[in-house]
């Protein structure tokens, strides 16, 4: 066993050379990958502001995976790209976990096409998107002119979110009318960069993903204006159209859920307060659409007044206005 001392010496030297950090208090966050960029930015700035006295960890388990941990009491805060579901509410109730539901920003699902595509410049109606994406379109709707005769006789190449993502859930709910109901013969990826590249390379492609990925790739992709109902004008996704509620139905609020018991700990309270104060600026920085300023103020009020629970009652909803959402009664 002569090699052992040498091996250990090398290994331990590496470990010992790691700079030392004092022990501090910890805020544990997990959940949706859609909410992650905002939470990460807040966590980064918060730790700087607190001079590393408070430590924050952020994981990505997805909205559902995050709620599983949250309802077992393993995390203090959970990011969610959709409201908490009934089954998750029951799980939390069983473990005696109560929580605050705080919307923190908007994400605008963006329908994108190749820059060479010109026939969609005026926009696409929700009805047309539905005919393109609904399950019965599988294998049947394969050419653009099948949806609108004025569109070219060329194959449609579809790119969309993977079936495990909240983005997929929301898009299908908003467009097809039923969550998770979609045709299966499209290029699906959990990695939005794969979708960006796919649409960028194919003149006949159409795809959807979160606004941040469009914002970072504006030169390579074109966003399609969405026409909510035939006759209405097409609305392109942007900070303004999302904020004034005209970009419908693909704009959605994203949330953080805060464990009420954790909120009694000063470090969690400080973090959530920091989130509500600086969240707007940081969300904008990571290319998300911030809520109107008064929404963050109302969130703080709700925390102060102890307005626990969800305002959705465990059901997914499309096209909720942020004012209505904040005014609703919450329940656990």
């Amino acid at each position: 066993m002569r090699f052992k001392p040498q091996f250990l010496a090398v290994a331990l030297a590496a470990a010992f050379s790691a700079p030392a950090f004092g022990q501090g208090t910890l805020v544990k966050i997990d959940g949706s990958s859609t909410v992650y960029p905002v939470t990460e930015a807040v966590a980064e700035e918060f730790q700087k502001a607190e001079k590393n006295a408070i430590k924050v960890t952020v994981g990505i388990s997805g909205t559902g995976g995050g709620f599983k941990k949250f309802c077992r009491g393993e995390t203090d805060i959970s990011g969610a790209s959709r409201p908490i579901l009934k089954s998750e509410m029951e799980q939390c109730a069983k473990e005696g976990i109560t929580y605050y539901e705080l919307p923190v920003a908007f994400d605008a699902l963006t329908v994108v096409v190749n820059p060479k595509n010109t026939f969609l410049d005026k926009g696409i109606t929700v009805e047309q998107l539905k005919r393109m994406w609904e399950p019965s379109a599988q294998g049947k709707i394969t050419k653009w002119n099948q949806i609108d005769p004025s569109w070219p006789d060329a194959p449609i190449k579809l790119f969309g979110a993977g079936a495990d993502s909240g983005t997929f859930d929301y898009f299908t709910e908003a467009i097809v009318g039923k969550s998770k109901s979609s045709r299966g013969d499209f290029t699906a990826s959990e990695d939005d960069n794969v979708l960006v590249q796919g649409v960028q390379r194919d003149a006949n492609a159409i795809g959807y993903f979160g606004y941040a990925y469009y914002a970072e790739n504006q030169g390579k992709l074109k966003a399609v204006p969405i026409i909510e109902k035939a006759g209405k004008p097409g609305v392109s996704p942007s900070m303004n159209t999302v904020l004034d509620g005209s970009y419908q139905p693909l704009a959605r609020p994203i949330f953080i859920y805060v464990n009420a018991k954790s909120l009694d700990r000063p470090e969690v309270k400080k973090f959530v307060e920091y989130y509500m104060t600086h969240g707007s600026k940081l969300a904008r920085e990571v290319k998300y659409v911030p809520l109107p300023d008064k929404a963050y103020v109302m969130n703080k009020e709700h925390l102060a007044k102890g307005k626990k629970g969800t305002v959705f009652g465990g059901v997914a909803e499309v096209g909720v206005k942020i004012d209505d959402l904040l005014a609703r009664e919450a329940k656990l």
């Binding site: 790691a18 994981g59 990695d191 990925y213």
Partner: protein, 321 residues
């Protein structure tokens, strides 16, 4: 027999009969296969080597901008230019230490037992088959096992120690199998010689089997650790974090007893997870970070391999049989 030999040669090879030129041509034709095989061999080698080189160089070129000292001393950040791999490389190093400390003694001991002590019966056979099969189990399965066993049943938490133990389980079969291979390569006369002068089994193992098989065992350990260092699936399953901007507590403290094992319980992230997170970002500047982190991860693996080759060389020098 000797009298028959020339006759049989001439009988089986009538075509050879003739000038020496014919024979030369025959030899040349036979040797052509050598040339063909050498070319094929070099091509086969080239596929592996060039693929590695292309991948490594591509990452190096893409990530070159970011390969600065700060990259190693900065925490993750939402700004690509300020993001670094400090928490990731420290996490990977600590997890690897736990993995090696757990897997090597267990694996080597199990290998020695199976080769030197275990009776040859069906129980041993079943164990052997199981170990070989374990080496082929997908790593995510180990992650699920670890989540149930280490994280929840044993309450070890989503920590460095859990990750280390999980990866140790993952590489255990590799260590066991390579230990056994190394022991089998030792000539039987060594063992017999030791027994002949009255050595016990343990003395034989301690003074002969283990030192002589060490180079082979080491190779297996490094192959195992090289696999473990790049694992993502089981580590994500047990709950490694994506954003973590602090380090585990230092193992050396100012107060008595000067050593602390608090770091075993610390939350962590590892290099492959950090890379994965950066590749899926919308901002392209992060992709350069991912490439740089990838190049460093490859470099870490190469360093481990280099260390193994050097140790093996040193150990082999001392072996005389």
């Amino acid at each position: 027999m000797a009298a028959n030999a020339p006759e049989s040669t001439s009988a089986t090879a009538p075509a050879v009969r003739g000038t020496t030129g014919d024979i030369r041509r025959l030899i040349a034709r036979a040797k052509r296969w050598d040339v063909i095989f050498i070319v094929l061999g070099i091509l086969a080698l080239g596929v592996g080597f060039l693929t590695f080189l292309a991948l490594f160089l591509d990452m190096l070129i893409d990530g070159w901008e970011r390969l600065r000292p700060e990259f190693f001393t900065q925490f993750p950040s939402r700004r690509a230019s300020q993001a670094g791999i400090l928490s990731a490389w420290v996490g990977t190093t600590l997890v690897m230490i736990v993995t090696a400390v757990v897997a090597v003694p267990l694996g080597v001991a199990a290998g020695i037992y199976l080769e030197e002590y275990a009776p040859k019966n069906w129980v041993t056979d079943v164990i052997e088959i199981n170990i070989t099969n374990l080496a082929g189990v997908p790593s995510i399965v180990y992650g699920l096992l670890a989540l149930g066993l280490f994280v929840y049943a044993f309450g070890l938490g989503q920590s460095v120690q859990t990750a280390g133990l999980t990866l140790a389980l993952l590489i255990l079969p590799i260590v066991i199998v390579s230990t056994r291979e190394a022991i089998r390569a030792i000539p039987a006369m060594i063992r017999e010689g030791a027994y002949a002068v009255g050595a016990t089994r343990w003395q034989t193992v301690k003074d002969h089997i283990l030192p002589y098989s060490m180079p082979g065992i080491l190779t297996g350990v490094i192959i195992g650790l090289s696999r473990a260092i790049g694992e993502t699936a089981p580590i994500i399953t047990i709950g490694a974090l994506t954003f973590i901007a602090f380090l585990p507590p230092s193992p050396v403290t100012a107060d008595f007893p000067f050593l602390s094992f608090e770091w075993l319980r610390a939350p962590f992230t590892v290099m492959p997870i950090q890379m994965f997170n950066w590749t899926s970002r919308p901002d392209e500047a992060f992709h350069a970070n991912a490439a740089a982190a990838g190049a460093i991860l490859v470099f870490m693996t190469l360093t481990m391999n280099g260390l193994a080759i050097w140790l093996r060389y040193r150990l082999r020098k001392n072996i005389k049989w």
